[in-house]
Amino acid sequence: MSSVRMASRPRGAAKPRSPMAAPRSFLWSRRIFLTLLTGFVLLPVFVMVSSSLKPLEDVSGKFRWMPSGLTIRPYIDIWKTVPLAKYFMNSLVVAGAATVCSVVIAVFAAYAVSRYQFRGKRVFTVTVLSTQMFPGILFLLPLFLMYVNIGNATGIALFGSRAGLILTYLTFSLPFSIWMLIGYFDSVPRDLDEAALVDGCGPIGALFRVVVPAAIPGIVAVAVYAFMTAWGEVLFASVMTNDATRTLAIGLQGYSTQNDVYWNQIMAASLVVSVPVVAGFLLLQRYLVAGLTAGAVK
């Protein structure tokens, strides 16, 4: 952190702001600010990791920075105290299916908007985007009633089922995904897919052979975003799931019983459910950051 100017910068690193050396006031304020911020960011992470390795006495009494004895017991017990594996599976199926569907649907829609002129195009994009601003609570009540009523009328179990949750979640990430992908597809030169059309591909062939491969970073970004959205959703999961379909978001509440709150197990379980998304995010963050910001900054 201290050496400001390095002889050779790694590729891709931002260029220095100015040819002048930064003054000490800047360097010191930067050092202090970044240290404090790192502490703020890492504090819960530290609590999560350290508490997950403590025996129950350590997390039930006064907080201790250092555990009295390290144990991996919580990591074994979390699977027995609540059916964590089942919740994990539910979350995986729901988030995975929502991601796949959302990405495929967004690819088609973004292709249409990016490559074609048609009546109602502007209405479509504005409507889809504006659904982003509506409070989730606004959909919750009607959707809850609609799902219950559809179930009563047709026997299709949407309420309480994974299908209902998948259907709901895939639309959450859809507007943003379409928006992001339109930007990506626009940046793929039109000549490329027109050449494919001349060569005898159909429009769908051109989409999958030319446009999609060229926009892979954007599609990865959209997929990560959709997965994170579904994996972290709480509101609809709290109302629309039952014992069999409960996701992690709600299942984690099961570690508090009337007598005890198994904080060490809660922390261990929180860490376990965070690892897949955080690892995926950090691996793919380059794409996601580029994708997330492409739309907003333009």
Binding site: V4, P10, V45, S51, F63, F118, V128, V234, S238
Partner: protein
């Protein structure tokens, strides 16, 4: 299709449909076909529920009519009257919750913006550890909300939490160990978690915005003798203006509508000092089983958000226009 209307004001070049495909119907129908799945889903999960929600708000919808909400008796504007009658308990509670949400949103968005922008500016220049810090700062954004908020909930526990241990036992700043998750302090607990969770998004957007500032501007300023601080004030901050406008709006909408953070931190009914509108509506609907009033409150909330967003966009676009003249 060739002579079709161009998108008004769009930055994109007008799209040209594939020319050599046979069949006029297919050519015109294809974009609609491609949009169909997205359209159907948006209709089913977003637009239809809004229509249903609006119609529900005019009905006397209690738990007796859940199975067949169409049969619930019509109640006209009663639900709205109850919601905005600020002298009666329901309206008074809604108004209080609305004011709490406004204060919370202003503080949270302000802090997220400030921290995110400062961090982005400090990380604009390459230095050792920059890439590492950048990844680290994105952790709060990547962690699932409930896992992060549960951890904060643990830290805010009165007897076995880290916060009281540090404030009371180690630093002696408070006389006795205060409650953080009930009572007036809950507002600050919620604010802390919200800022922790929200600032990385501001940071992300700001980092991207900074990359678009041409380096020559800094070089020219440096040649004219401007120091780093002056460059930040004269070049960096003004250049971020249009990014800021989008960012502040998005942060506002997300924070104002946030349900997950208070729900995981406090459960189904939040303490009065941290009773955000979305939790309040949830409680009115699913805990006290009054869906009609809950719907009316949702519609009022939507109208408020539409008005604020519309006003905001109008002001910022006018600014942009006058800047061009």
């Amino acid at each position: 299709m060739q002579g079709g209307k161009e998108p008004s004001g769009a930055a994109r070049e007008p799209g040209r449909g594939p020319r050599r495909r046979p069949g006029r119907l297919r050519r015109i129908g294809l974009p609609y076909l491609l949009l169909l799945p997205a359209l159907l889903l948006e209709l089913l999960v977003h637009l239809l529920p809004i229509v249903v929600g609006i119609s529900m708000s005019f009905k006397e919808l209690t738990q007796f009519f859940i199975r067949d909400w169409g049969a619930a008796p019509w109640s006209g504007l009663d639900n709205y009257k109850v919601s905005v009658d600020f002298d009666a308990p329901v309206g008074e509670a809604l108004l209080h919750s609305f004011l709490v949400t406004c204060a919370f949103t202003v503080l949270s968005v302000g802090l997220c913006w400030l921290i995110g922008t400062t961090a982005a500016i400090y990380l604009q220049e390459a230095f050792k550890g920059r890439g590492f810090l950048r990844a680290l700062f994105l952790i709060p954004y990547a962690l699932p909300v409930y896992a992060a908020v549960i951890t904060w909930g643990f830290m805010f526990q009165r007897d076995n939490g880290l916060i009281n241990h540090v404030l009371h036992d180690q630093l002696g700043l408070t006389d006795s160990a205060p409650f953080w998750l009930i009572g007036d302090n809950s507002f600050f607990a919620l604010l802390t978690v919200s800022v922790w969770k929200g600032w990385p998004f501001a940071f992300l957007i700001m980092m991207a915005g900074l990359q678009n500032i041409p380096r020559e501007m800094y070089e020219a300023a440096a040649l004219d003798g401007a120091g780093v601080w002056q460059q930040i004030r004269r070049i960096t901050l003004p250049s971020l203006k249009s990014v800021n406008q989008v960012l502040v709006l998005v942060l506002f909408l997300w924070t104002f509508n946030d349900f997950n953070t208070p729900y995981v931190l406090f459960g189904r009914s939040a303490p009065e000092a941290a009773d955000l509108v979305s939790i309040h509506i949830y409680q009115s609907s699913f805990v006290t089983w009054n869906f009609g009033t809950g719907s009316a409150m949702s519609v009022l909330l939507l109208l408020f958000l539409l008005a604020v967003t519309g006003g905001y966009l109008w002001v910022t676009s006018r600014e942009r226009k006058s800047a061009h003249v």
